[in-house]
């Protein structure tokens, strides 16, 4: 019950992207295709969970002044391990994601959860918090990617779904398009939240 609440907290009320505005770089950069966004979300999720649990388990042993170094060491290990795993299992996706896999290291969602939650909680709690945050992150990533891929290419996960008369709007493939979709989605989410709040 308590763990479910922690999970829920990370998923919606503390959504890492919309509410806390963390992890924006990759949110904007890998959302051109749903497929890439999906694998990115999975990898960020694994990294977050691994490093959160590690830091939570070691929280009383990590020397305060080498805190940053230890966190980075743990995160980098997780990222490189996940990267190698992806290369072995899905070489195609690994090629498509390439540079962003390395940049997970500096994804503030990972670091943010370590600093804000994992250092002061037990490993099991940290696990559920990381899981919730990872799911929240994945939800945002996938929704932005779906919108951008549909508007920009008329496809979803590589499948052509747009009606024939639709002419893909290439601006959604470019960086400014990502910002615009993000702002629109943020507007929608906040609007829904305000409706929910008014009703309850």
């Amino acid at each position: 019950m308590k763990y479910l609440r922690i999970l829920w907290e990370g998923l919606i009320p503390n959504n890492p992207v919309f509410i806390l505005a963390l992890g924006l770089c990759s949110t904007l950069a890998v959302t051109l295709k749903v497929e890439n966004a999906f694998f990115m979300a999975v990898m960020v999720g694994i990294t977050t969970i691994f490093s959160s649990v590690c830091v939570a388990a070691l929280r009383y042993y990590i020397p305060f002044r080498f805190r940053l170094l230890s966190y980075m060491l743990i995160i980098v290990t997780a990222v490189i391990a996940v990267e190698q795993l992806l290369k072995a299992l899905f070489p195609e996706v690994a090629r498509a994601l390439g540079p962003y896999v390395g940049l997970i290291v500096t994804n503030c969602v990972v670091m943010g959860r370590l600093e804000a939650f994992a250092v002061s909680h037990r490993p099991l709690e940290a696990f559920f918090d990381a899981l919730g945050v990872a799911l929240g992150y994945a939800a945002v990533l996938l929704s932005i990617a779906s919108i951008r891929e549909f508007l920009g290419n008329g496809t979803l996960w590589g499948l052509h779904v747009a009606p024939d008369f639709y002419i893909p709007c290439r601006v959604f493939n470019s960086p400014p398009g990502a910002f615009i979709v993000f702002a629109a989605l943020l507007f929608a989410v906040n609007w829904l939240r305000s409706i929910v709040r008014r009703d309850s």
Binding site: A21, L24, S26, T106, A183
Partner: protein
């Protein structure tokens, strides 16, 4: 290698700062761009700090890569070494500022740990190595990127200051409106980039 790329340093500086802006073209360092840009002065300070850290870490990482990793054929560990260097540099800078420039420390201090997870810094180090820049070129590239990042955050902050008194749609919120500003600026920058890359 055989023929090192000869790029005029000035071109390198300006293309790094403007046409291939690290924030708007590569989507790096977006989180602080959104969260810090509420205040122009803080934005400028943050921009300066990022530039400084970028310069130091690019030099250090260049040396590590070319003097240690490449001769030992350990290129796959570059992420680990780069990230640890950045974390240590940030911590050293924090101590240094705290001791000698307390007034600057009080302005910068809170941003410094954030910088560790600023992907722009890691990105610039990685690009400099990837593109086989010489040390001088790397430094110029880092300086240009830092300037470019500082420029963008200051532009966003100034625009935000202007619309401070305007009625922004409630549900869009601060993050949303900043995203839209970034979208417009990114469009403008992409125009400049087209111009510089030989649109004539």
């Amino acid at each position: 290698m055989e023929n090192a790329i000869q790029i005029p340093l000035l071109t390198l500086l300006f293309s790094a700062a403007i046409s291939e802006n690290v924030a708007l073209y590569y989507f790096l360092g977006i989180c602080p761009l959104i969260s810090i840009s509420a205040d122009l002065k803080a934005s400028f300070n943050m921009g300066l700090t990022v530039s400084l850290v970028m310069l130091i870490t690019t030099a250090a990482n260049w040396a590590i890569y070319h003097l240690l990793l490449q001769p030992m054929e350990l290129e796959y560990l570059q992420l680990l070494f780069f990230v640890l260097i950045i974390a240590a540099t940030v911590q050293l800078l924090e101590l240094f500022l705290d001791r000698f420039f307390p007034s600057i420390y009080e302005v910068f201090g809170i941003f410094l740990p954030l910088i560790t997870v600023n992907c722009a810094i890691l990105g610039v180090s990685m690009f400099a190595v990837l593109r086989e820049y010489s040390l001088i070129q790397s430094l110029v590239f880092a300086a240009g990127s830092g300037m470019g990042w500082c420029l963008v955050i200051c532009i966003i902050a100034s625009v935000r200051r202007r619309i401070n008194i305007d009625a922004v749609p409630v549900h869009l919120g601060k993050t949303g409106i900043t995203m839209l500003i970034a979208a417009v600026i990114a469009l403008a920058f992409s125009g400049v980039s087209e111009l510089m890359s030989g649109g004539f």
